[in-house]
Symmetry: C3
Subunit: 664 residues, 3 copies
Amino acid sequence: MSTYRVGVSYYPEWWPEEEWEQDFSKMEALGINLVRMGEFAWSWFEPSEGQYQFEPMRRVLDLAARHGISVILGTVSAICPPWLYKKFPEVKGGDLHGDYTFGGRKGNCLSSPELREYVRRITEEQARALGGHPAVIGWQLDNEPGYPFAEYDKRCVKKFRRWLRDRYGTIDELNREWFTMFWSNRYTSFDEIDFPTHSAEGAWHPALFLATRRFFSDNFNSLLSMEAEILRRHVGPDVFLYTNWPGANWSVNCFDGTKYLDYAAWDNYVTLPTGEDYRLQLRSSMEHDFDRRLSCGKQRFLVAEQTVAPNAQTLPEAIAAQSWLDVAQGAFGTIFFEWRPPLGGAEQSYFSLLAGDLTYGEGAPAVRRFAADVQKVWPMLESSRTEADIATLYSYESSWSTRGWTVDGPYDQDFFNLHGALRNALRRDLDVVGIQDDLTPYRMIAAPGFRICTEEQAAKLDAWVRGGGILILSRDCGMFDPECLMYTRRVPGLFREMCGVAAVSSISSDQMASLSGGFTGVEFPDGRRFASWKMLYKLRLEADDVEVLATYTCGKLAGTPAVTLHPWGKGWAVYLAADCDDYRYYEALARELGRRFGFAPLFEAEDGVLAARRVTDEGDVLFAVNMTETPKRVTLPRRMTDLVSGEPAGPEVTLPGFGTLVAR
Amino acid sequence: MSTYRVGVSYYPEWWPEEEWEQDFSKMEALGINLVRMGEFAWSWFEPSEGQYQFEPMRRVLDLAARHGISVILGTVSAICPPWLYKKFPEVKGGDLHGDYTFGGRKGNCLSSPELREYVRRITEEQARALGGHPAVIGWQLDNEPGYPFAEYDKRCVKKFRRWLRDRYGTIDELNREWFTMFWSNRYTSFDEIDFPTHSAEGAWHPALFLATRRFFSDNFNSLLSMEAEILRRHVGPDVFLYTNWPGANWSVNCFDGTKYLDYAAWDNYVTLPTGEDYRLQLRSSMEHDFDRRLSCGKQRFLVAEQTVAPNAQTLPEAIAAQSWLDVAQGAFGTIFFEWRPPLGGAEQSYFSLLAGDLTYGEGAPAVRRFAADVQKVWPMLESSRTEADIATLYSYESSWSTRGWTVDGPYDQDFFNLHGALRNALRRDLDVVGIQDDLTPYRMIAAPGFRICTEEQAAKLDAWVRGGGILILSRDCGMFDPECLMYTRRVPGLFREMCGVAAVSSISSDQMASLSGGFTGVEFPDGRRFASWKMLYKLRLEADDVEVLATYTCGKLAGTPAVTLHPWGKGWAVYLAADCDDYRYYEALARELGRRFGFAPLFEAEDGVLAARRVTDEGDVLFAVNMTETPKRVTLPRRMTDLVSGEPAGPEVTLPGFGTLVAR
Amino acid sequence: MSTYRVGVSYYPEWWPEEEWEQDFSKMEALGINLVRMGEFAWSWFEPSEGQYQFEPMRRVLDLAARHGISVILGTVSAICPPWLYKKFPEVKGGDLHGDYTFGGRKGNCLSSPELREYVRRITEEQARALGGHPAVIGWQLDNEPGYPFAEYDKRCVKKFRRWLRDRYGTIDELNREWFTMFWSNRYTSFDEIDFPTHSAEGAWHPALFLATRRFFSDNFNSLLSMEAEILRRHVGPDVFLYTNWPGANWSVNCFDGTKYLDYAAWDNYVTLPTGEDYRLQLRSSMEHDFDRRLSCGKQRFLVAEQTVAPNAQTLPEAIAAQSWLDVAQGAFGTIFFEWRPPLGGAEQSYFSLLAGDLTYGEGAPAVRRFAADVQKVWPMLESSRTEADIATLYSYESSWSTRGWTVDGPYDQDFFNLHGALRNALRRDLDVVGIQDDLTPYRMIAAPGFRICTEEQAAKLDAWVRGGGILILSRDCGMFDPECLMYTRRVPGLFREMCGVAAVSSISSDQMASLSGGFTGVEFPDGRRFASWKMLYKLRLEADDVEVLATYTCGKLAGTPAVTLHPWGKGWAVYLAADCDDYRYYEALARELGRRFGFAPLFEAEDGVLAARRVTDEGDVLFAVNMTETPKRVTLPRRMTDLVSGEPAGPEVTLPGFGTLVAR
């Protein structure tokens, strides 16, 4: 890979063959060197059962090659042709309202043997027919695996029961681990267990809910690994496999995905930065860091879909800023979605690089410039890596077990906010890790809402802190065992001694607001105040050396500890008893910790400039990306070289709106 | 018809026979000369299967005749007796949540052969038994056809597939016209097509949605035309047939209804005007104009149900104003709903002319006075007509294909607002037309949101504009073919050259509001500002002679064109790139166009006075209806005669609150 | 019963046997003398079908006895073991969305013969095995009967039809009483009647709705009475039976429950008073008064579950205030919920007396003090009674027939507000009665929204008023017969003559607010204003001696009568034409009536102090409970004795925040 991959999604099956040439020519003219195709083309490849047709796609691949454009192909399991549904309606799953009818995409029943068999066949045929084509450099498995977030059909119930038997062995063991004597939900056989769908009160055992989510994740991973296994038999060793996670933190455990994938990728659909608002770019940034972790030690990942059209209030240059951030955090390619708007279907008139009349749209010039500039710096970045001594710790179980049960629920909001705040306030690189990872490279780890936690895991963190680590914890961390049973503990559970605090009571933020009248939140010693979000715990300090970093502002809690710091061995434990849906709250904390513990920034800059570094054997490459539309000042650590222009830069630099500096 | 029909809805089957006489006496005393009966009386006519009983209704008809009251009878297909549902549960349709259970009314399955057969039988029996009675002057088919707006049961799926085969011929043709290769939704047989009900993502092909709506409309029209065919065989040539549309712009294509009906009618349930607020009366006014178009060239229509009871904040006189507007726009009768409140059932204690204790309610005096006055002017109006040189163009397909898929969605709101604004600001009569109509009588036509448009239709409008017409367009007009596939075009699609503009980007109003902070809307050169509603298109002017009539106020769009005017041949094209849910916005535009193009008002008046004219061979009759509770000044074109009092009137007249002047 | 019962809910089946001893020891240390157990323990008692196991519970009973703690046991019909559901899925009922799946609790199908049979068996076994144990002093039937509020499964439909046949005899009679000719819903057999579930318009006959609610209530009472009958055969005469109503005013007619129960009990889950806000305590107070009525003439009742943990904004002392109010109004015991938090299940980490780490929680000291103090006064209260000359009249039918169809709908809100206001403003005791009760003890009765009312019932009230009673009526009182058919009457229906007023029109409060702009509500002569809530009736005064107590403030109603007073015989009728969701409105009325008719308070006090009296043969015991966190002044009628401290008290007393004075 001697170039940065600047790609587009393209659907040749939508268009008459005579229009393909023109599309590829226009791509080439824009600097596009990668095209992703085929992930929804099952009906094209297999118009009726067993009648395979890959010649047209082969002609597309030839055409791409002629234009110097590499290809990523997709397996087709995110859709299902009508003839298959007609023959076996059970290939579609179902939700709380019953089995799905046919229409649109997704919702295939992952537990249907028929679905598996037909996916196996078409994948096999696809791999055999197209896998050896020289234009093909990679394969995408499925599309945005995870959605819809649950399957409650009868095929899945059966498979779920088998899964439960495998996990728990005996029904007595399951009863014990789930605390089923509560409300007499004690099972006498695995066959008595149903999904949590339509009970009279809707009051389910948390353990059942968590098991449902685990099963769902395993079921998705098993489909994808089957596809990977098929492809491996047909494609060359240089062809890579990935899937485009809709975000790593959804309903499928992506740590498990590393067993069968080569790279991670995600679909960066966050809205372009607008004016001075770049909050969502901090979210992108977290996903980038997460995907680096998920890319099997390769220190690089793919952005598989990225917004390509500015709305009428955003400048087109924001597209370039968004793309440079991909590069800065380790991407080896960015695929813009999409090349050309479909005339019909659910995404009719979707934002595309071509406008409705097939002339270039508003985003095209920015893409062209990015495509040209990125290739100038790519040779210096190709074998680069990110090095970080700070990490956030993500726990799928903690997310899945948090009230709300949806993607981007409170657990994930906290995680986003805290991760983004650490990166933004400290202007340093961050990693995302799992509790199973080696923690020794890190000086500071944030594990917000780390509620599902074994005693072994708590001990691992304890040892790491005692050895000098700084651990940031929040909410009901350390309160639940792996089956979501509560420990016989007060909040913060297994971390009570480490944090030196214990909760004596609590109140929801809403209730506090309605009862106390005043500002409901947290105040730092310098007077900055932040509104609390979900829950406030009233703390009792249990050690003399607990330091209070912030206090509550409201009602009877006013002045009592909300954020605490406690030395533990050679390290420190930070506990946040109240969360907040504003990342500035976490920035205030991050700055305080940065100051105390000496985390120096990569460079100084005005607010709105994101910082990142790629380490190479020839030295560090720094990235300063202005995520706002107004110019911002940056102070580099020394006079450096602007790798795009080749000119000297800094130390004082003014970045134009949405401008990026790549310097060494 | 030598009298204006002042009617009431009455349900003799609810009451003991001995109470009928008293009811009719009280009607007569109030000036009522028409009664509508029987549309929900299936269980009365056929208490058990095949046991018909029409004698009681015949006695009612005799009684009505003795009181000088004419009768409209209803067919009974809007309900279904429990015994029929018990025998064939499939006579009820279903929605997204499954098949309906029995209860209330409506929801009959229009695709059930059993339902059709039993409706046929009872209609045949009704027509035979009652159709020849001299008191009966007309028949109403069904009741408010269209609701509920979709039927998703299995009988309808089968019929839908036959309907699709009839429409498209082959499945390949359907695939082509629907763009089904998107997401592999490519069908191999018509049997694979289901209604858009419960898919995993709920992401349907627009073409499938539109077909569903077309089928639904056709299905309703086919039921009604069957009823019409039966009735025609039994009733005399002077007896007229109509149905009471709940509004012409609902889910049934009323243009098709003209094939089997004599008149149009609609149920005027808009709230009575209150204080100075008469917005909803502009909506009534649009429906009146629409119904004139739907009355098969007869220039008259019926108001089949009209609110009869003022709430505690409205004056009873508002009832008279509402009724006079019916007359002014071409009604030949107004049926008040309803005579007497039912003691039970879903409409228990509904507003009625009689109060709960069977004394006259608060609305009665106003009805009595209206009934007396209208007869004084009716001889001069009976053969009158409305003549207009402005029209609005309604497109069912454009409405049905607009996101929201509900009655009164964004398309219809725009249509209401623009129609009402033109009438109110110009104080002239308007017509409503379809694109299939002769457009040559009109100098100005407004076709807001005319998005589903063939190239032939665009060419027809183009020729009409080139010939001197003024065409008002908006939103995504001209963007979609008849199957809701997008043209390879930028907004405003097929009208781009005519309008001289093209969209380069867009943003939803909500998003703009949240991003730009300031007032999100449109400003006219005189400084008047109106908040935008759904979508803002950023325009590029593509001809030198485009004139900007109004500009955006917000964010990066501030100062750019929002409303444009472009000469085209001998005519003009107006394009509104932003809509607004305030009819005052369209009034501002209407006044500007009126001034430029010389549309003189019928007479001058203060705001709140609605103007209309009926043309007769003996001269024009002008109507000035004060829709507010405060007196308003009117300046007639000359001294005229008040046709109610017989006294001279004007040219300066002061109308009392809710007062009406009918002058010649 | 020589002690006040201070109890807790405890679930020994959740815990290892070795932990029981510690739990009971900690209870005893806190002053707990009652424990409620077993109501969800079916799976413990019968782990698989027919395999009964009561030895463990017997060991718990022995242990309780050893700690001097009495026991209440529960029947287990609020849950169902998975093995029973697996064998007979029909033991679960269903709702609008279909039959329930297994999970959590509740939702058993009350019409399932299998459910009844298995409940009968386990209850018989339980009663036989445990009923004779000396520690057991009472049994609770089921748990919070009533929820979920409807069952729409097929077993229930069948039983409903039988119930209808029993009630109406013939289908003709049902048709007549239900007014089914409306919309041709006229049935020809009982088999045609379904529950009001999924019709096209959702427009049901009110009579059908009301019948559904009546059937549901009867069905629940029949289950409970079966359980009572079984228990009576096995337990001694001193063992009492009750059920823990979730509130008397829910979906089961509790008047019927007095036929098979010994006492009433309710679950007092109202939020603890906070700061100066004690509104919800007035609701508790109403339920207490209601439960006294439901306790079969015993003048005492049980609080079966009461919140035990203060949130972070409430003081723990509020628990004591809440408990003293129980005592003041006639409770013989308070069972706190719950002893110890479950580790899993739907109520994971629920508020408990023990904190998560099994140390005493924040509420424990307040419970300990209350437990100690209440025993000091209990000997003087044990045979006491409440005497009241004011009552509120509750009508299940009126509640069930009011739009909304939910628990705590508008009827109940009005009832709560009016009851609470009378008690609070007059500082006197109140009773709750049904229309079937003897009304002669009362000088004043409030029957808000008493809409379902026979002519005999109206006559009974008429005679009582003529004899000197003061009757408070509101809304659409007297308008509907027992089948919810409207009388041929204007509002206020059968009470028109008594009240001397009639409604001429109406308007919803929302509509009035949007039309009139100003303050929409009611004003008293002293200038106090209260916002109206649901509906405003415009009144016509029909007698010269009607006095207007308050007038409307808004729109065309401004200045017209909203609250009237009319002498009738020796008594008076008060009519409220507008309701209000603020009890202060009703307090304003109560004070006016108190002044006019001489209802003297038990003692004077500042706002926030609740007053009650228990009458004994040795004299009256007065209760002053400060429901706020700030000190309040009380003026006793004379110098008295503080029964807790034994010291003299008053006449001037200052109660500390949440403090209680019990004085004689």
